[in-house]
């Protein structure tokens, strides 16, 4: 069968598999959140029952109105139905609907993480390509030393150092993420450079920039795109210490506050949402790779 005719099917199958994973995660996360709400202390209590102005019949009616929540299946069904319509419950700690909290804080995280990721890729690519183009041990040592040093420092310490030095939060995120990108990219490029056709290209007098652009990047590029999804996950994880310690009112800070006050439903909702973003980023990277290399069977 000609390759072109199978491509849409393969892309559709790939997307279906990814969406299946996302749906499984959303369901799992929703059930976990519902379980935590149900097991939280004070779940079955309504403070209106303490009102001395209510008679016995009114109190009975109040209890009757919550009778449906005793059935765990109908509780889960109601919770998931609400979640599908965007009702993610209320934060116990902050007393606000989770949806409005997310709407306020998400733009801060997108800005910090987005700029941080761009900087990280810029820095890592610059170091990796410099080491490839100039092929001097000094550049290799510089890249390895710098990335190695930042790999040894906890994300929270980098956040603290950015506060002490009055540096922006996205710089801390960039310094947390770039060592991993650099090391992976450098290994990919180094492997690509060992291929025989690169040696042949050099022997024929092709310049290093042309070799990198026309012969090395087409090989290493798709795998570098693959880790872009993983770097989104790393950056989102790093947003917790960065936003918490730098005082940035984003999702990361919200998750930290929720953990300290044991606001479990909020924390689980946040974790599931952040994971959704990660899965979407990974899926996007996979589809992009497939479109660049349609001949390969994508596992």
């Amino acid at each position: 069968m000609p390759l072109r005719k199978t491509q849409p099917w393969k892309i559709a199958r790939l997307l279906a598999r990814k969406l299946g994973a996302i749906a499984a995660l959303v369901l799992l996360g929703g059930l976990l959140s519902a379980t935590l709400v149900r097991l939280a202390p004070g779940f079955d209590a309504d403070e209106r029952e303490l009102d001395p102005g209510l008679n016995a019949e009114s109190v009975r009616a109040l209890r009757q109105s919550r009778a449906g929540e005793h059935n765990i299946l109908s509780f889960y069904a109601g919770y998931l139905r609400g979640a599908i319509h965007g009702d993610l419950g209320t934060s116990h700690a902050l007393g606000q609907p989770v949806q409005s909290l997310l709407r306020e804080r998400w733009p801060v995280t997108v800005r910090v993480v987005g700029v941080g990721l761009l900087l990280a890729w810029l820095l890592a690519s610059t170091l990796a390509f410099t080491a490839c183009l100039w092929r001097r041990p000094a550049y290799e040592i510089l890249g390895t030393t710098v990335s190695g040093a930042f790999l040894c420092i906890p994300a929270a310490v980098l956040a603290l150092l950015s506060v002490i030095l009055n540096a922006p939060g996205y710089l801390a995120i960039a310094l947390i993420v770039f060592p991993k990108i650099y090391r992976y990219s450098r290994n990919l490029l180094a492997k690509a450079y060992t291929l025989p056709h690169i040696t042949a290209a050099r022997a024929r007098g092709l310049g290093e920039v042309r070799i990198l652009a026309l012969h090395v990047l087409p090989i290493a590029g798709p795998q570098m795109i693959a880790i872009s999804g993983i770097t989104v996950s790393i950056a989102l994880g790093a947003s917790i210490p960065v936003e918490a310690l730098c005082g940035l009112p984003g999702i990361g800070q919200l998750a930290w506050q929720a953990a300290l006050s044991r606001d479990l439903p909020l924390l689980v909702n946040l974790t599931v949402l952040v994971t959704l973003v990660t899965l979407l980023a990974n899926s996007g990277a996979d589809v992009m790779i497939y479109m660049l290399r349609p001949g390969e069977d994508f596992a």
Partner: protein, 268 residues
């Protein structure tokens, strides 16, 4: 072993040895307060000065290093055993079991590590005794850190399943748990050792992050995380450079671990 790796080995062993000897080397207990000398600079009596409540910083560094360096390998052992059980078994059994295990680990690996850590930590009580907080912190790391190793082990076990010597063992009548324990698991040892050593620095960093966020080891027990929390009050490096000693020690130990691990393992 090249010179750099030898040096790294010596550094790690030396730091471990010094931290194990904390009971004899530390000038005072980690919780003893010298209230008249709170936030004091380094002196003959307090080599690294004292913290805000007057505790000797050098003693806390020694005891904190002991806790972090002893319990991170313990957590790594837990995660490696879990990875062997989940990944190794799934790879050995193959078929639907392998698919299920890979799907589950992929889903698990999709969860951002720090989000997962703080969620699970928040599930457990935060106001526990210091010893309980230490056990909880490192147990969480061990119980949650198996997925990446399981992925690697499942691939290795899957490759072993169809190898010649396993087929011969099967043909000889060996199967089930005995085949797994006698032939498959010993051949997974190199991968298990590699995953164990890779996990240690990851867990040390994770504990440090949790500690700085206030979700790690509880006071007055010191750990690298709680020691690094002191950096929050640091105004300038020049005024109190001694407060950077725990960070420098962490960087030295982590760099040594990096040098001990091969390049491929670090990248993984």
């Amino acid at each position: 072993m090249n010179a750099a790796r030898k040096l790294a080995c010596v550094v790690v062993v030396a730091v471990c040895a010094v931290s194990l000897a904390a009971n004899w080397l530390a000038p005072s207990g980690y919780a003893k307060q010298f209230r008249e000398a709170a936030s004091a600079p380094p002196s003959h009596q307090h080599l690294l000065g004292t913290d805000e409540v007057g505790r000797d910083r050098f003693a806390r560094v020694l005891y904190g290093t002991r806790i972090s360096l002893l319990l991170a390998p313990a957590a790594a052992l837990v995660s490696t055993v879990l990875a062997a059980l989940v990944g190794g078994l799934a790879g050995y059994l193959g078929g639907i079991w392998l698919r299920l295990a890979r799907g589950f680990t992929d889903l698990f690996l999709s969860l951002p590590w720090l989000f997962l850590l703080i969620t699970v930590r928040a599930l457990l009580p935060l106001n526990v005794s210091p010893v309980a907080s230490v056990l909880i912190t490192f147990l969480i790391l061990g119980l949650l850190g198996w997925a990446a190793s399981a992925r690697v082990l499942s691939t290795s076990a899957d490759a072993l399943r169809n190898s010649d010597f396993i087929l011969q063992a099967r043909a000889s009548g060996l199967h089930g748990p005995r085949l797994f324990l006698v032939h498959v698991l010993p051949n997974l040892k190199p991968v298990l050792y590699a995953q164990f050593w890779i996990s240690i620095p990851v867990f040390i960093l994770s504990e440090a992050n949790l500690g700085i966020l206030g979700l790690g080891v509880a006071e007055p027990l010191p750990s690298w995380g709680s020691l690094l929390r002191e950096l929050e009050g640091l105004i300038s490096f020049r005024e109190e450079p001694w407060r950077l000693v725990p960070l420098l020690l962490l960087i030295v130990v982590m760099t040594s671990f990096q040098m001990l691990l091969s390049n491929e393992e670090v990248t993984a």
